[in-house]
Amino acid sequence: MKYADEFRDSALAAGLAKAIAEQLDALGATEETPVRIMEVCGGHTHAIFRYGLADLLPKSIEFLHGPGCPVCVLPRSRVDDCLAIAMKPNVIFATFGDAMRVPGSKGSLLQAKGDGADVRMVYSPLDALTLARRNPDKEVVFFALGFETTMPSTALTVLKAREEGITNFSLLVNHITIIPTLRAILDDPEMRIDGFIGPGHVTMIIGTEPYGFIASEYKKPLVVAGFEPLDLLQSLHMVLKQKVEQRCEIENQYARVVPNTGNAVARKAVEQVYETREHCEWRGLGDIEQSGVQFNAAFAAYDAEKKFAIHNASVPDPAECRCGDVLKGLAKPWQCPAFGKACTPEIPLGALMVSSEGSCAAYYQYSAVHNEALEEARNAKAS
C-alpha cells in the first residue's frame, strides 16, 4: 500500500528502537523509574497496540494513554441525550459507528436500535445531510462528536444545510477541545509526565501554537506525531532527544501533513458556527471549563438540544470505574477493579472498553488479562 508501507519498515524501526534504547540509558531510565510519555490521541494508542510497538522498546519507557479519544470521554449523560432523541417518533439518528456501543445510564445506541429506534451509522456528517434530503418527512439528527478534527466537517455541513434551506436536520453537538484538558491533566498534583506525543489530526486544524504553554509553563516537550508506527518511533526519539539535550519545545514530526499554522479556512468555518461552551463534561475527568463548543445564536435552528428540548443532566460514572485515573495515566487499565470482570468488551461499563482506541479495550484484547501469552511471544522473539 503506497504511502503507508513506507512508514512500516521493520528494518528502519529496529534502528530507531536501538537509538531510543540508547537515549533511555543516557537518561538513566530503568524499569522501576521509567520515562513516562503520554500519547494524547486515541489513534496513537491504537497504533501502539496494533503494531506491537511496546515489544520493540525497552521497559524503561512507559506509555500513558491520554484522553484524546472522543468516544472514550463521552459521558453517560450525553449518551442518554442521544437515546432520548433517537427514541422519539419520526427521528433518524445518525452517528459515527464507534459511538454506537458506548453505554449511557439507560443503554447504548446499539440497544436503542434493537428497541426500534432508527439509528444509522454514517461515515461523514454530509451523509447525514443526504439522509435529511432523502427523508423530508423525517427529522434527521447527527451526533456531532469529536475534537477539532471533526469540527470543520460538521460546521461546513451545517453551512451547507442552511444554504440549501434544509430544515429537517439538526446536530447534537458534543465537540470538545483538547487544550483545556491537557492543562487540567498537567495541573493534577498526582500527575508525573515527562513528555507528550501530540495529536496529529487535531493539530492539522489548530496548528502547533496552542501547545506552547506546555513547553513554556510546564517545561514538558511535545512532538506532534503521525499515525504510522515509524512516525511514532521517530516522535518518541525527538521527545527523548529534547530530554537528553534538556530542551522543552513544541516540535512537529508530522510536517508532511500538518502545517505549523494549522488550517485557517477550517478554523474560520468553526468560528462561524460554534462558540465556546462554558462547561463540558468528560467521562472519567468530570467537568472541564471551556473544553467544548456549542452552536452560536445564529445557528440555533440546527441545534438538536434546542429543537428537542434536551437538558444535559450530569449522570455520575459507575462507582467502581477508574476511567478517570486511566485517562490521566494514574492507573493502568488492569488496576481498575472492574477491568475484565464487571467491564469487558462484551458488557462495557466504561467507554475506554468500547472504542478500539480505548486503552482498556486495547489492553484487554492485546495483553493484560492475556499477559502471559504476550510475554511468551516476547520471549520467543528473543530466543
Partner: protein
C-alpha cells in the same frame, strides 16, 4: 422445459422426463400474501419460479420429500455429511455475488471443508410481501447456476410469504447432504503442533464488498466478494496432502475467528506471520480508511487448512493449480503452548489476535 442436469444429478436413476408436471404461470409482478396461501397463486409461484429452474428427476412428482438413492452415497463414501445454514444479506445483490449464490455455496462449503462430496441441497425461502417477482427469478437463476458450478442438485424446498416488515425481502435456508470418503477424518482434534496454516487465497473481500455495497458509507470500491465453491480446492488439497488434519471455511468473523476457534478447541497456540497473509491492495486501503481489521472480515470462498509441514509444499502447489487457489499461502503454524493466536506484525512487533466481540464498527477519525 429442458434444463441441463446438474452434475450431482447425473447418476440418479430416473429419466429426466419422468414425473415432471405441466407448469403453472405466474403473471404477478410482486409477491403478495396470496402467494403463500396454499392455493393456486402459490402453486403458480412454485411452478413458474422454482420448479422451472430447479426441475430435476429427484423432485419427482413434487412429493413431500425428495427421494435419493442410497447407492449414490455409498459409492462416494461411508458416512453422510449433513449441514444447514440460514442466509440473510443486505443488499441482496452485491459485487461478486448475491443471496442465492451465497445460499448454495455456503452450505456446499460447509460440506466440502469436511472432505465430503456435496450432492444434494434443500432450499427454504421466506419472502417478504412486496418483493418483486423478477428479484426472486434472479435469485433462483443464480442458485441454479451456483448449484451447477458446485455439482449439486436442489431437490426439495419450501416457500413462505410473510407480511411487510416481518422479514427483510428474502431469507433463504439451505440444508445439504454429501458423502465422506472412507478413511477420511478431518477434525479440529486432529490438529497438531507443527502443523502449518494454509489459506487458499486473498482474505476479507466478501466482508468489504458487502460493507461497500450497503451504501451507508458512500464509498466506492472495486472489491468483489470471493463467493465460490470450495469443493475443487479442498479435493485438490486432500489429494496432494492426504494427512491434512483439519479445514474450516473462514466465513463470519473472518480468519481471526476461525483461528481462535481452533486455538480454543485444541489448547494449542497459533503463530501468524502478518507479511504472509494474502490481502488485496484495494482491501488494505479500504480497511485503512475505515479503521477495520481485515482479519475479521467475512469470506465466502476461503478456508484455513491445518497441514503437516511435510506435506505443506505439495498442498500449496496443488492449490495454486486450481481456480481460487492461485494465491494460496502458508500464513503461520500451530505451536505447543499459549492457547492464543499471536501475530508477528509486519513491523517487527507481536500482538494477540483475539476473538471479535461484536460487529466491527468504522472509527470516527
Amino acid at each position: 422445459m429442458k434444463t441441463a442436469p446438474a452434475k450431482g444429478a447425473e447418476i440418479v436413476p430416473l429419466k429426466a422426463e419422468d414425473g415432471l408436471r405441466r407448469h403453472g404461470r405466474l403473471s404477478a409482478k410482486k409477491i403478495t400474501l396470496a402467494h403463500g396461501g396454499g392455493g393456486s397463486a402459490m402453486r403458480d409461484l412454485i411452478d413458474d419460479v422454482f420448479i422451472s429452474a430447479f426441475e430435476n428427476p429427484a423432485m419427482g412428482d413434487l412429493e413431500d420429500q425428495a427421494r435419493l438413492p442410497l447407492t449414490q452415497f455409498t459409492a462416494s463414501g461411508d458416512r453422510l455429511a449433513f449441514t444447514t445454514d440460514g442466509f440473510v444479506v443486505d443488499p441482496l445483490f452485491f459485487p461478486g455475488g448475491d443471496l442465492g449464490k451465497l445460499a448454495v455455496y455456503g452450505t456446499v462449503n460447509d460440506l466440502a471443508v469436511g472432505g465430503a462430496k456435496p450432492l444434494y441441497l434443500s432450499c427454504a425461502m421466506i419472502i417478504e410481501e412486496g418483493v418483486e417477482v423478477e428479484t426472486l427469478r434472479q435469485l433462483v437463476a443464480s442458485m441454479k447456476a451456483a448449484a451447477a458450478e458446485a455439482g449439486v442438485s436442489i431437490v426439495t424446498g419450501d416457500t413462505k410469504v410473510v407480511g411487510k416488515g416481518q422479514a427483510d425481502k428474502v431469507f433463504i435456508t439451505t440444508a445439504g447432504v454429501g458423502a465422506i470418503p472412507a478413511g477420511l477424518n478431518l477434525g479440529v482434534r486432529q490438529v497438531q503442533p507443527g502443523d502449518v496454516v494454509i489459506v487458499n487465497g486473498k482474505l476479507g473481500d466478501h466482508g468489504a464488498a458487502i460493507l461497500a455495497a450497503r451504501g451507508d458509507l458512500e464509498l466506492e470500491s472495486p472489491i468483489h466478494s470471493d463467493c465460490r465453491p470450495l469443493t475443487g480446492l479442498v479435493q485438490a488439497l486432500l489429494k496432494a496432502a492426504p494427512n491434512t488434519h483439519f479445514i474450516r471455511d473462514c466465513t463470519r468473523g473472518g480468519l481471526a475467528s476461525t483461528l481462535n476457534e481452533v486455538s480454543d478447541g485444541t489448547g494449542f497456540g497459533i503463530r501468524l506471520q502478518e507479511k504472509a497473509i494474502p490481502l488485496r491492495e484495494e482491501l488494505r486501503g479500504f480497511c485503512e480508511i475505515l479503521g477495520l481489521d481485515p482479519l475479521y472480515l467475512a469470506n465466502e470462498g476461503s478456508f484455513a487448512a491445518f497441514v503437516p509441514r511435510a506435506e505443506a509444499e505439495a498442498a500449496l502447489a496443488a492449490l495454486r493449480r486450481v481456480d481460487g487457489g492461485q494465491e494460496a499461502a502458508i500464513i503461520g503454524e500451530v505451536t505447543t503452548s499459549g492457547g492464543r493466536v499471536i501475530m508477528d506484525t509486519l513491523f517487527g512487533g507481536a500482538r494477540i489476535v483475539d476473538m471479535l466481540v461484536g460487529e466491527q464498527l468504522p472509527r470516527i477519525c
